[in-house]
């Protein structure tokens, strides 16, 4: 079982974070026999501990440490202390995610080439492409049990999907199905199939949805080569005179501080915490923060162009029953500038429970129009919109003047929509509305973005060290034994939910780290 490693053991790979990137990397390294320690800021809540109760679950899982916001996005007004809805727990946001597992489209790997110059956007091509990623996507889909791949049947459509599909087909959409979901449609990998409980966002109590919590992490622990240390909140990455990282300083559950030595450090704390940690690790040698010679640490923050459309009908839908997000229209995901924007978007079914519907339908809204929408709750259908947003250098994670519980600068999350994001959202609201109108909606509610769930791009991958923070392996350009293993590597965001790509990159990165360690290059 889990191997405990000594704080002074400087032969270990230390991974910061246990979500899609960190949890996967940890297991992949352990399977190769590499001694690995995952430091996870949050606690360990097993599947049976999850709560079918939106606010209670939020209190159990959400990352609620101090954060500040700025920019013209509405989240900064409506949820000023909560820029992102992500998780602080073993398993990271794979406990909370909906399960949508889509490959990037080929053109999305080369956004700058394919979209051309977009004013105000800091576009860049990824240093990797669809062909290079294909075998890793295949491994990730098999690992995660993604429906409609590897002969895995699709999930059945729930009530929300029935409305969504009928509207999509009336509009003439053709790529309409219940999704490529990392949710078991049949028993697989020792886990049961989806029981349609309707609480995907609160952690799947049946473990039917893939999460590193009950897949990668226990598998890694079984090798005896992986230790997962919960409630170990990393405060600083340390380095030696040679500029190589040597270990990390962390606070345990009681606030006591320790240094865990390391041969390699991989940062996988999500696109807000990962750059913040690099910035908070500034030293006399690296005065702008670790791995920041490009000045790009924290920059180019992306969160996907998002929005929702909810609609009321004259007959009941009971859309909260069943899988939260098993339904997709992919026809608008293409790159087609004739629509007035570059890149594309996906339409995906989405349901919220009553408490979260009240919080997110129209934040700050009140009065009879708002209440009438809530009165229609059980007659409602809903969809989420997720599209490619433009990287902008001014959208950034920076160190706030405010401090967290350890006295360290909290992250400030600055975001303003690009004109392309706004044009795409307007188009998507129009199409989503048309879908529901086509099946007899009596009211439609174009709903603004929620606190970010897809946080991307703040340590981006670049061919040239001056354009980004990490190379094509997620290895920082500046420090050979420092890696980034989460969505902050993303050069551009593409239109797809990011988890499958994060997992695929982690599998690929594990091969590279093992090879580099074998060659004593790191």
């Amino acid at each position: 079982m889990a191997a405990p490693y000594d704080l002074n053991d400087d032969s270990v790979v230390v991974i910061i974070g246990s979500g899609a990137g960190g949890g996967t990397l940890g297991n992949e390294l352990a399977q190769k026999g590499i001694d690995t320690v995952i430091l996870e800021a949050g606690g360990r809540h097993e599947a049976e501990d999850f709560l079918n109760d939106e606010w209670a679950s939020f209190g159990q899982l959400a990352w609620l440490d101090k954060r500040t916001t700025s920019g013209d996005w509405r989240v900064a007004t409506d949820f000023s202390g909560l820029p992102a809805w992500i998780v602080k727990a073993v398993g990271g946001s794979t406990t909370h995610w909906a399960g949508a597992s889509l490959r990037f489209q080929e053109h999305e790997w080369k956004a700058k080439t394919n979209y051309g110059e977009v004013e105000g956007a800091n576009l860049l091509d990824w240093p990797i492409d669809a062909e290079e990623m294909a075998p890793y996507y295949a491994k990730a889909e098999d690992k995660m049990g993604v429906t409609n791949t590897n002969g895995i049947p699709p999930l059945p459509g729930n009530n929300n999907y029935k409305v969504f599909e009928a509207g999509a087909k009336k509009l003439g959409y053709e790529k309409v199905h219940t999704g490529n979901m990392a949710i078991n449609s049949q028993d697989r990998d020792g886990r049961t199939h989806c029981q349609q409980s309707g609480f995907c966002f609160q952690g799947c109590k049946f473990s039917a949805k893939w999460s590193t919590l009950y897949t990668e992490i226990p598998k890694g622990e079984e090798t005896g080569k992986l230790e997962v240390r919960p409630k170990a909140h990393v405060l600083q990455i340390q380095h030696g005179d040679d500029g190589k990282v040597t270990g990390v300083l962390y606070a345990d559950a009681d606030g006591n501080q320790h240094v865990q030595k390391a041969r390699v450090v991989a940062v996988a704390g999500n696109s807000i915490e990962s750059p913040r940690l690099l910035l908070n690790s500034a030293s006399s040698m690296f005065s702008d923060g670790l791995a920041n010679s490009s000045g790009m640490v924290g920059k180019n923050y992306m969160r996907h162009m998002t929005a929702s459309v909810y609609a009321s009908f004259d007959k009941p839908v009971n859309f909260y029953r069943g899988t939260t997000m098993a339904g997709i229209v992919q026809d608008e995901a293409r790159h087609d500038p004739s629509r007035g924007f570059v890149g594309g978007y996906e339409l995906e079914t989405l349901a919220l429970g009553l408490p979260f519907m009240a919080a997110f339908l129209n934040p700050g809204g009140w009065g009879r129009e708002f209440a009438a929408a809530m009165d229609n709750y059980d007659h409602m259908a809903g969809m989420w919109i997720v599209g490619e947003d433009m990287p902008q250098e001014t959208n950034a994670i920076t160190l706030s003047d405010e401090k967290d519980q350890y006295g360290l600068p909290a992250p400030n999350v600055h975001f303003s929509d690009h004109a392309n994001d706004i044009a795409m959202r307007a188009h998507a609201w129009q199409q989503g509305t048309a879908m529901y109108d086509a099946v007899g909606a009596t009211q439609v509610y174009p709903t603004p973005p929620y606190p970010s769930t897809h946080n991307l791009g703040t340590n981006r991958m670049s061919a040239d060290a001056k354009d980004g923070v990490v190379n094509k392996w997620g290895q920082t350009h500046d420090i050979a034994n420092l890696f980034v293993s989460d969505g902050s590597q993303f050069t551009t965001g593409a239109a797809e939910n990011p988890t499958l790509t994060i997992v695929s990159l982690a599998i690929r990165q594990a091969d590279y780290i093992a090879e580099q360690m074998g060659q004593k290059a790191i």
């Binding site: 079918n52 109760d53 049946f206 009971n318 408490p355 009240a358 919080a359 009065g367 709750y377």
Partner: protein
């Protein structure tokens, strides 16, 4: 505290006949710390706020999130935390008492056309008139404190969910796989 014991046998006129009992709308104030809703079968003992203040807050809560099939007791329950917090938090108590005082003043002006001690928020009979007053104070700390607490405090009451057709937790019932996750036929 809310209780259901005050309903049976309570005669509104009997309450009013004694001293220290006054009627405000459908509510009655008993002594200095109890709000009674005799026709609805519940009452509320206040620890810090004036019962008259709470009565106005309940109406304000309903005007913020007007659900005509949701009884007052749910709004009252959502607001109880404000009374609890006001016991040791003078600033909070002042925010609420002053906020309601300001609201009554504005409503009185709307009703009587001039600055007056008479009239109040509860005397404005139409929701639209009350909402017009609320729009005037929409950006105030008082209003935002009320709205912000209600959006969780009201809609997160499990007892209220059936009124909206939300079934809540499902895992202990085996999810909906055998209980209608795909049961609609009208599409």
């Amino acid at each position: 505290m809310m209780t259901n014991e005050t309903a049976g046998g309570v005669n509104r006129r009997d309450f009013l006949a004694g001293s220290g009992k006054t009627a405000i709308g459908a509510a009655m104030v008993l002594g200095s710390g109890t709000l009674l809703m005799p026709n609805q079968g519940w009452g509320m003992e206040l620890k810090a706020l004036k019962p008259e203040t709470m009565a106005t807050m309940i109406q304000m809560a309903r005007d913020i999130y007007p659900h005509d099939r949701v009884p007052d007791k749910f709004y009252a329950k959502a607001l109880r935390a404000h009374d609890d917090a006001s016991v040791d938090d003078d600033a909070k108590k002042a925010l609420l008492e002053d906020g309601v005082g300001d609201l009554n003043g504005r409503a009185g002006k709307k009703l009587l056309g001039e600055a007056t001690e008479k009239g109040g928020y509860l005397d404005l009979g139409w929701e639209a008139d009350r909402v017009a007053v609320l729009h005037d104070i929409e950006d105030s700390d008082f209003f935002q404190t009320m709205r912000g607490s209600l959006v969780v405090g009201l809609y997160n009451q499990k007892a209220l969910w059936p009124l909206f057709g939300y079934e809540g937790a499902s895992a202990h019932k085996g999810g909906y796989i055998e209980r209608g996750f795909d049961d609609i036929e009208w599409v």
